[in-house]
């Protein structure tokens, strides 16, 4: 099966993936060895740069005894000569057992799935879907807070353009989490996503002040506000300053509230926060490995 969009999964399937990922943690850490995917080949096609996603997929495959081939930029490959994605996919499909694809065009993974016989895993397609990020976010929330349902998740940052927060909020609404979206009005969650969430029976709160809502949060999910979204630098500074997570912001929060961030961060989470019990973003980055191990093992039939 292909892994293209988080919308393709039921709650039961997601929970199963997270259960399998849980079992992968000791192998991901290198404490245990595994030959589950020995003899299997991962075709890793990155048409756009990505550090975390690519490396964690490759680590996941190799920790399970498999091998990887592919490219991390299209320059120098047949892609640069004008080959269609469909042809590249058919070729790599013949050389490997599973394809991981990051592509700047939306819908690229769905198209790849149509041309490949072997499973295709979407590692991000333009402004579209990034389902493995959503799975590792859900894994982190479940692992750190012992539940997903009933959590109050405050999502702050660029909610308009951030694909991570679109998929995550849709998935959280499936699980029945309480959602609050914090962003300046120009970067708030698009209406079609809010409608989608409401269709699951969840009414998200909308706010422009992080200070007001952070005290009640169980999970604070922070994303980067990109400078290029703003016409002038002064406006950017004002907005970036208003959503900065620092010790001052954290003085009245719940003791066991966790802070997540898909990384890379710029200034939105102050490094002074890194040492607190709240900071879970580096654990979150590590969790990409066991979650991707679980997915690869499941789509390749290494586990049921």
């Amino acid at each position: 099966m292909d892994v293209v969009s988080i919308r393709d999964f039921s709650i039961e399937q997601i929970e199963h993936i997270l259960d399998v990922a849980e079992k992968m943690v000791p192998i991901a850490r290198g404490d245990e060895k595994s030959d589950l995917l020995e003899g299997k080949m991962l075709g890793s096609l990155f048409y756009e740069p990505s550090t975390r996603t690519r490396l964690s997929f490759e680590a996941a495959m190799m920790r399970l005894g498999g091998k990887t081939l592919g490219f991390d930029e299209p320059k120098g490959s047949s892609v640069a000569k004008g080959e269609t994605l469909a042809d590249t996919i058919r070729m790599v499909d013949a050389y490997s057992d599973v394809i991981v694809l990051r592509h700047p065009q939306e819908g690229a993974a769905r198209l790849a799935g149509h041309f490949a016989e072997n499973p295709v895993v979407n590692a991000g397609d333009g402004a579209g879907q990034h389902p493995t990020q959503t799975l590792l976010d859900l894994f982190t929330i479940r692992k750190e807070t012992k539940r997903i349902e009933g959590n109050h998740v405050v999502i702050v940052g660029d909610l308009k353009y951030g694909r991570t927060v679109h998929s995550l909020s849709e998935a959280l609404s499936m699980f029945g989490a309480k959602l609050t979206f914090v962003a300046p009005p120009s970067l708030q969650m698009p209406k079609e996503h809010i409608r989608h969430i409401e269709s699951r029976g969840i009414k998200p709160s909308i706010s422009s002040s992080l200070e007001e809502v952070v005290k009640d949060a169980d999970v604070l999910y922070v994303t980067r506000i990109q400078k290029e979204r703003f016409p002038d630098a002064a406006e950017y500074q004002k907005v970036a300053g208003a959503y900065k997570v620092n010790m001052e912001m954290l003085k009245d929060v719940k003791k066991d509230m966790i802070i997540m961030h898909p990384l890379p961060r710029v200034t939105e989470v102050d490094p002074e926060v890194d040492g607190t019990e709240h900071a879970k973003y580096f654990e979150q980055a590590f969790n990409g490995v066991p979650v991707r191990m679980a997915l690869l093992a499941l789509v390749l039939g290494g586990v049921q």
Binding site: S5, R7, T84, L85, A86, H103, P104, Q105, E106, G107, A108, R110, L111, H114, D125, G126, A127, G128, Q129, E192
Partner: protein
């Protein structure tokens, strides 16, 4: 004697009650171009008995396939089809929006993979028939203006 701008046809298909201004889009959807070997009359901006204005297309000596004609509903949901045999209306039906649409329009998302040179035809699932909303099977984006995105 009554004066006709366009005379009735003896045999063929009349597409009536086309939303005003949409006649040429309708021809595009049903694939009428210079290569056809039958006569096509197009009437644009004619008064409608139901009030307001409409367009009409008359195709002589050709009975078009109803399933083909349903695509017309994407740009003109009130259009009616009359199959004419020996000057009489032999069959009459209203077009209906199909459940899936393939090959007649492109995705409105310029970032969609189907906008690139890939060997696939854009394909859509009809999410809503009134107002019309089509979801791209590749990128999930909704397109509501079909007329602007015809191939």
């Amino acid at each position: 004697m009554k004066e006709f701008k366009v005379t009735p046809i003896r045999n063929g298909t009349v597409i009536d009650h086309i939303d005003v201004g949409m006649a040429l889009k309708v021809l595009r959807i049903i694939g009428v171009d210079a290569s056809v070997n039958y006569t096509v009359s197009v009437l644009m901006h004619v008064p409608s008995k139901k009030g307001g204005w409409k367009d009409i297309v008359k195709i002589e000596d050709r009975e078009l396939d109803p399933s083909e004609l349903d695509k017309i509903a994407l740009v003109s949901s009130n259009a009616t089809i009359n199959i004419i045999r020996d000057y009489n209306v032999a069959e009459k039906f209203v077009v209906e929006v199909p459940d899936r649409v393939k090959g007649i329009m492109k995705c409105s998302n310029p970032g969609c993979i189907t906008s690139r040179n890939e060997p696939v035809e854009p394909e859509f699932i009809v999410e809503s028939k009134k107002p019309i909303a089509l979801k791209c099977v590749y990128c999930d984006r909704l397109t509501t203006n079909v007329a602007e995105n015809l191939i």
